[in-house]
Symmetry: D2
Subunit: 349 residues, 4 copies
Amino acid sequence: MTTTAPRIGAFTPGPRDSIADVTGVTVGHCTLADGPIQTGVTVVRPHAGDAFRDTVPAAAVVINGFGKSVGLMQVNELGVLETPVALTNTFAVGTVATAQIRAAIGANPEVGRTAATVNPLVCECNDGYLNDLQALAVEAAHYDAALHAAAAEFAQGAVGAGRGMSCFGVKGGIGSASRIARTGAHHWMVGALVLANFGRPAALTIAGRPLGPRLVERLAAGGTAPRDQGSIIVVLATDAPLDHRQLRRVATRAAAGIARTGSNFGHGSGDIALAFSTAQTIPRASPAAIWTLRVVDEARLDPLFDAAADATEQAILHALFAAESVAGFAGHTREALTALLPDWPELLR
Amino acid sequence: MTTTAPRIGAFTPGPRDSIADVTGVTVGHCTLADGPIQTGVTVVRPHAGDAFRDTVPAAAVVINGFGKSVGLMQVNELGVLETPVALTNTFAVGTVATAQIRAAIGANPEVGRTAATVNPLVCECNDGYLNDLQALAVEAAHYDAALHAAAAEFAQGAVGAGRGMSCFGVKGGIGSASRIARTGAHHWMVGALVLANFGRPAALTIAGRPLGPRLVERLAAGGTAPRDQGSIIVVLATDAPLDHRQLRRVATRAAAGIARTGSNFGHGSGDIALAFSTAQTIPRASPAAIWTLRVVDEARLDPLFDAAADATEQAILHALFAAESVAGFAGHTREALTALLPDWPELLR
Amino acid sequence: MTTTAPRIGAFTPGPRDSIADVTGVTVGHCTLADGPIQTGVTVVRPHAGDAFRDTVPAAAVVINGFGKSVGLMQVNELGVLETPVALTNTFAVGTVATAQIRAAIGANPEVGRTAATVNPLVCECNDGYLNDLQALAVEAAHYDAALHAAAAEFAQGAVGAGRGMSCFGVKGGIGSASRIARTGAHHWMVGALVLANFGRPAALTIAGRPLGPRLVERLAAGGTAPRDQGSIIVVLATDAPLDHRQLRRVATRAAAGIARTGSNFGHGSGDIALAFSTAQTIPRASPAAIWTLRVVDEARLDPLFDAAADATEQAILHALFAAESVAGFAGHTREALTALLPDWPELLR
Amino acid sequence: MTTTAPRIGAFTPGPRDSIADVTGVTVGHCTLADGPIQTGVTVVRPHAGDAFRDTVPAAAVVINGFGKSVGLMQVNELGVLETPVALTNTFAVGTVATAQIRAAIGANPEVGRTAATVNPLVCECNDGYLNDLQALAVEAAHYDAALHAAAAEFAQGAVGAGRGMSCFGVKGGIGSASRIARTGAHHWMVGALVLANFGRPAALTIAGRPLGPRLVERLAAGGTAPRDQGSIIVVLATDAPLDHRQLRRVATRAAAGIARTGSNFGHGSGDIALAFSTAQTIPRASPAAIWTLRVVDEARLDPLFDAAADATEQAILHALFAAESVAGFAGHTREALTALLPDWPELLR
């Protein structure tokens, strides 16, 4: 992704500086952009295979639970993902969850019959400023389209689930980044993908510099009165071999990355972080009663924690710098950050 | 409800021995019973008003998180219910959640526009033995029908969401009970409603007596080989003034009631308890910055805990004794407990 | 242990029917019994080696958090035990924790210098009815004595930390039991040790039979007015290879065993369950950056859950049937259960 | 406290810019500074009365659980503080907890007899670089001294529990700050007190500016090789009427303040936040079965969240700028931040 966002932190990004630097992870979007309908679906696939048959270790952390995600409870009980991760708007969660069930049945006709039921996993943010939420425009086919579009190269900004999202009073949406964490002789990739829809303009902080006050001036000049609600979903992927408990610890560090952009996890914000490891899969129909799992030694986790926080912060910046201006529902518009602050390079000096 | 189930415990039930003994609480069903389709929706309304505008204090407890409920996260963050509680089958959760959103919009056109979005609350069990889960037969209209049918008098057993459920290898479903808890001069009503779909036949315990071995014999004679998966949803209501934290403590006690019927909260079981208080409502559009809440003194909670455990156990028995035999999907049948153990009164002696 | 307690459940116990059936686990007591001082310390060692250098996977579950245990937070963050498990009275927790620190320093002079600090792990119940709690009689040497006394053969009842405990209005204390869980070709041992100090007389249930009402009669005849506070600590051990998350699931099942003896987890009860696996140790000073762990396939956990619940229930019965009558502080006495209900075999028929 | 630390954030501090701006809150230290012994105890009293008889609403949040605090479990079950909050070094927790028990008994002879037992509340960080941890130098009398020294005016920096603490490779310790949060016509005070013992030098961030690289240079010039372990305890107080659940939400926001100073909550860090409200007390011996509580309307919490995050960040800066250089155990020294970076005002420009 060729955004010109400033790079934060001391870690080296992967070649794409996106979650797809974690080998096997792909991302797909379905974008709805038609007048008052500015919304969509984004899907993160943990690997190219069937996520129901070959699950991956995972954990979810609720930073602030004002949100309507589905599937987190079972992720934390069983410690695995069994579908791709779907992102969409708040009122589309039920529709997308049902689409995930249908997709799992299509690929595995035994789901809910001879096999267990499937656990849909859908996270959401509220895009109601730009998108006519009450129109319930997202349909099952949009999930399918996003799933089938999944690839290692994917767009960022005002696309997919990010189409109608707002962030710090400007246009938000999908952002992604990666960082390489070194522990001894090992190099691990940590990738983040965010659905960024949070933050008050006055609080915007980029690379530690408070750009918020300047942003507030520019927004006031434009007459916009941004609403103060929002949420952020953070999806973290790594090729380091980590178990559920360790992934829960990694996901907790997303909060640090979010905080450094200027958020205190507002009351109305559904701030959720999800982490999974691609280092090994756990087959559902296991012939063996005992598994062998590889895990990183606990005392060597810090570089992974730091990489997770930095990748999260960088992904938020990528969302802000990639998102173009969007006009939508009720005549509302969100300007691109770079349109309002074209002088950002000087402001960061 | 005129079931002949044995009464357990030392507490006195309310006049209906159902959750509707908590003043204002009503229950409605929509039952689908047509060949391979044996499923439905059950709705518990906390009061006669609008649940979005006038919320009630609530808390949810996950005993075993192998389940697909939606809405629990926000209940535990904000400490309130803002919709009726919906129960249905595992694959209908998304559809019913969307129906709840539509119903909230219908009643409150500002939802997701000038007001916050609404938090759907749907819990589920897997009725795939008797019901063709993959047919996804539940539609939004079925939620609406259950909601509109809500009344203080309601059927139990193989009705609503309970239509296709199995319990201890026999027919399960909806059961309800109530108990009066006394603390000093106060009398509080505690009601329970369960969606009972759990338990291995060998473990069935009624009023402390292990009927499981006898049940296994009778089931073997009939050639049935019951599957061993399941779940239970427990909804607890009380007119005692309790806050979120106290309701979480009350909901925890549902586990004791479940355990005494013979369950150890099996791996594949989504065992969830939800508790709410009707003692006061919290208006969404609050003119006042500070609220006054009444709460029971902490040291006086034990009778409420005991009543919650007993009402849960009793509600499970009511489900088992009320449920009629049902034949459904793939030629599967679940017999009524009383059909298999007509001699239960002697067995309990 | 030659108690004559009725055997509950369908599983087979190990040869000792105690937690020491899990190979390597040993238990030691130090008992203080001198007039108003009726208290002590009990220690469960996970293996014969150094618990700080060779940790074992572990998890803790808080059923009701009215308690003063120390060390549970770090067990759940890092997923391991790094000391033996100590049990004592409520006011001795600080003293025993300090003794654990001194013992770890003695065995590992680098603790808190070149190595990390050690996480003491001490759980407690309130023995203030029989023991003069305010005398703070437990000293560091008593922990050391219990540690050094640890053996596969150990006493139960009114010994060690159990010396002053009460249960259902009669004498409680230490109890232990084991059950063999079979999954396919594997046989796993699950052991439980309880410090039982909970329950109202009226609620006592043995093997499903409500003996409480009869017990209340006998207690009333003796003029005793039992207090209604208490707690239970459950320590579960297994040789099945389980990780932290799975051990958390196993520990959750202790609640079912407790409930079946007649408890609803009273307001004033600190009900805590702790589980650890001896299948492998995790060396603190790891030369390798990546570990290999064995874990049981998730879908095969149910026998372990059932064995944990049954071993817990059986251990409580062992405590009740092993404990002799004790007189202590302020002229208080707790009678042995078998002294008050010598006709219990008939009552259970 | 006349530190010259830069002021962060947009909120106005209270008159003292310390936790004592919350009316009734006082802080006391006992400092041990004698060669290899560089440690102590700090106590935060929620009000001038007896904390056992008149409890205050409280909640604790574990950000990273590599720590040995005692008492958090019961705070979260019952939702109240019942002792002052004590801070000390890792190996002194048991001793200080026992001192709290003795103090509670002294003030309330019925504790553990006719009244319930008391829940000690002690949090800790590891000061083993400057302090001879293994000497276990803290005694019960030091807790008593800190308690009796409690006052609205109190020292910051290398005092009390902060005496031996390190932070970002320089001298850390005790810091405090306050912020005024406005919701409508209401002004609430939010105060923070931190025991700051965390952070790698390279990550130090002050007011958004990365001073870490410069600090690393200066430390290298001095030949110091700072260890990378640590922890932070954050105590938040407010006069806003908040219940346990709301205080849990407030405490969660401490993580944002910590993150903005350059921490990702390292693996070895026990990062704990505790929040309490002084708006009303809850008497233990309640004649009334039902209480009336005042709580802030949920939708008006954001200013309190923001104030909590800012007060936490400011308190960390106060600790860093107030702490003088300290030499202690094994010839180790920690320089004051201002000694190593005397040019910090220019660096922040």
